[in-house]
Subunit: 477 residues, 2 copies
């Protein structure tokens, strides 16, 4: 063990300095690098390959749900941003502004989109005429920009990649139901593809999207017990429809405003999976998004037949749809073991002359750090396929168990503070008043992550009055 | 025929007013719409679905060639843009500039990327240390912005989507060879996926990329005989490596500058395929990129069993990997025929009670406008699969024949002018002097599209001196 740790000693201790561990891991595994402009990131191929898996899987789900992709312009007239009163308040301070183009000063400054409700609302108003055009459900994959003071790769950067879905319905019930349906889509995606347990629920008014009636969020517990908002869906009522004049002629012949909703998830999800599954050795990637699912490390590579056997195995696994990679570089096997462990590859196969002779292979699991030498080489496809499945299930179960164990109850502010200090999520009663929510934040540096719709609470953790909701409080990224 | 044309009379005549035909087609088929900011476009779902097919197919080819995807920031410090002398001259006039962000004036203005050579060069300089890091071959899919005075959807817009590949090699030979290899990748893609014949070759110095040693282009002939540049690859020598200090320690221990190259193709390709294959009825989409490959139109839809049979057929075709769509809307069959013809769907199946009874289906080919009623319903998957293949081949053959017939030779400026006036590409000799190229442009409004590496010419079409190259001249988009 001590020997292994020589190598990973480059990575800060995960328990005592989690922020530095995170920075070390994302940089050293070449997921990401800092861009030249403050607060920007470069997503390197190993990180981008994860994003491509996330995109593909999530996009398939959107399409199965009947959502279509489109693309709207990056630059939004500043006047659009101010049309919805809460929206401008929420986003104006973070906007990057284009004032000059083509060698001239623009007559109206243009916002680099921080989110696209306004420009999409403007186009929807052009396109929608009758109830036959509804519901209208489009999504776009794009970059957005929010000028942030404190940034960290994937978690908060001035530019990030995301998807934003925007839909219009004829009724508020349908639009709100869609916000909940998309929240479930996110949850299913997080659980199955990121192997990441999440809590979902409605946000308090304080935490909701600028311009929304209701915001629903998906929160995940990170290694340090803090919460990471990993996806949100919003029901806007007629706020944006009225601001942008999205109207339709209903079946009864009357002209009515539509009801809109939106939802978004971003490259933040990469940060979420790193901080959910990572360990002292570095990344632990869930098999569904791992760019490399299986690395094959030859042992005694120079011996006759070893490299050929490794190549043949790589080909067989690839044919079976497994993302396998043979590391035939000049580095020593030990160096390779450490490198690929740090990079979080779910399965390592070691193959040397003895294995080949006996028709076996040695298999190392990144999630449990267990090694087995009793795997039949001839049944590699089936065995590795099953193992990847098992690893995904185990990652989810482990994270789910940890999260459940670390959701504690509190009846007083002191208990709440104690709870979050110990790295827990704290379930507590809340009276519904903004002032109490503010006080919790001030006292415990914890925010209301989601309202727990399945639980009830007697009294407000802050004022002691009758509770209207049970809320999950936590410190958050 | 006259009846059919009632419907499409909304579309301008393709022969007498091709520019208006183009605008009508892209707007009425809902491929695209104008954005609120001048020169921007919104890519609507029907257009974006084509782009998704283009991306997927091209990306698979990049990955098979060993190129990896990454993502670099949108905003580039203005000082980067000025580091390579020719590059700044080429792009500075078109740049959109962010001067304010987060409520403050920025200390250095930031360019919205018009292309990413500079910022990628900066990062490569950080990452590359030794010859072991080379070649480094990354690509990104992103939006770029070039402030253009005259814009047209897909062909020239201030923001567009594209891919840009950027590679560094240890030698100039390798980098230049990669530029030619990527040109061949583009050609193969254009021919197989867009069913679009192209001419490829080196560009003249006048037409090359700002900062390149050599630019290679792929040109396609549009319906009106004008040329559309559909993809370019560039060999930069050490220009950018020196400007951004991209250095590596070679095997001999010496520190050397790398050699870079880049290549890009954009949403312009959608414009290219529209103007290559379209006809009086509207779009004619190549099967590999058609969002809907087969539309099923029920005849006598209300009759028992018709809709069920249509649904069953749709399912069967989908299972066979064919993008089939049943149009069960309330519109009349005739309306649907016209609508889907305008939208360019390669194959229409008409299915009514009589067809179902006799186990047949009526099949309409968009490319030839031929209708056959002798297709066996039970073998639909095979027959339609083969037909789609055949349609793609026919589209290519038709366009290839047209292009070859319309490449003419010229020995004098008058002949050249006459050639381009008749909507031809003109092959002519050129002495290599910029002044002669300029004169051709002035006299015939035609530019050198590519140097024809396979042909020789005796005398320059302009000055009559000895020709160094045979060049394809044309009017261009």
């Amino acid at each position: 063990m001590a020997k292994d740790l020589n190598f990973v000693s480059q990575i800060a201790d995960i328990e005592s300095d989690f922020p530095q561990w995170y920075t070390d891991v994302v940089l050293k595994t070449k997921l990401v690098d800092y861009g030249p402009v403050k607060g920007t990131m470069v997503i390197r191929p190993y990180g981008y390959a994860i994003w491509e898996r996330i995109q593909r899987e999530m996009d398939d789900r959107f399409k199965a749900a009947g959502v279509e992709n489109a693309y709207f312009p990056l630059l939004i007239p500043m006047s659009f941003m101010t049309k919805e009163a809460e929206h401008v308040e929420g986003f104006a301070p973070e906007v990057a502004v284009v004032t000059h183009a083509g060698g001239e000063k623009l007559s109206e400054p243009l916002a680099v989109r921080p989110t696209s409700e306004t420009i999409i609302g403007y186009m929807y108003a052009k396109w929608i005429e009758s109830w036959r055009d509804l519901p209208l459900r489009y999504n776009q994959w794009c970059n957005v920009m929010r000028w942030e003071k404190t940034t960290r790769p994937f978690l908060r950067t001035s530019e990030f990649l995301w998807q934003e879905g925007h839909s219009v319905f004829a009724s508020g019930e349908e639009a709100d139901a869609e916000a909940l349906r998309m929240l479930e889509l996110y949850r299913d995606f997080a659980e199955k593809i990121l192997c990441m347990p999440v809590l979902t629920g409605k946000k308090t008014d304080k935490e909701k999207f600028a311009g929304a009636i209701s915001t629903y969020g998906m929160e995940a517990m990170m290694h340090d017990g803090k919460s990471l908002q990993s996806g949100t869906t919003h029901y806007m009522g007629q706020n944006f429809a009225k601001a942008f004049n999205i109207q339709f002629t209903d079946k009864d012949g009357a002209l009515k405003h539509g009801y809109t909703m939106s939802y978004g998830a971003s490259t933040r999800l990469i940060g979420a999976l790193i901080m959910t599954h990572g360990d002292q050795r570095g990344l632990v990637l869930p098999p569904p998004v791992a760019p490399v699912q299986v690395v094959i490390v030859p042992v005694a590579m120079k011996k006759e037949g070893v490299l050929e056997a490794c190549k043949a195995l790589e080909e067989r696994l690839k044919k079976a749809g497994i993302r396998a990679l043979l590391d035939d570089s000049d580095n020593s096997p030990g160096w390779k073991f450490n490198e690929w462990e740090m990079k979080g590859v779910p399965v390592r196969i070691e193959l040397g002359p003895r294995d080949i002779e006996s028709g076996k292979m040695t298999v190392f699991r990144r999630d449990t750090l267990e090694k087995g030498d009793d795997y039949s080489l001839s049944e590699a496809e089936r065995a590795i396929g099953e193992l990847l499945q098992k690893i995904g299930e185990n990652l989810f179960a482990k994270a789910e168990k940890r999260m459940q164990e670390r959701i504690v109850e509190a009846e007083t502010l002191d208990e709440l503070l104690d709870g979050v200090n110990r790295g827990n999520f704290v379930r507590a009663g809340w009276c519904g008043e903004r002032s109490c929510e503010d006080k919790v934040k001030e006292f415990a540096q914890a925010t209301a992550r989601v309202i727990d719709g399945k639980r009830k609470a007697k009294t407000c953790v802050c004022c002691g009055k009758k509770a209207t909701h049970a809320v999950i409080f936590a410190r958050a990224y």
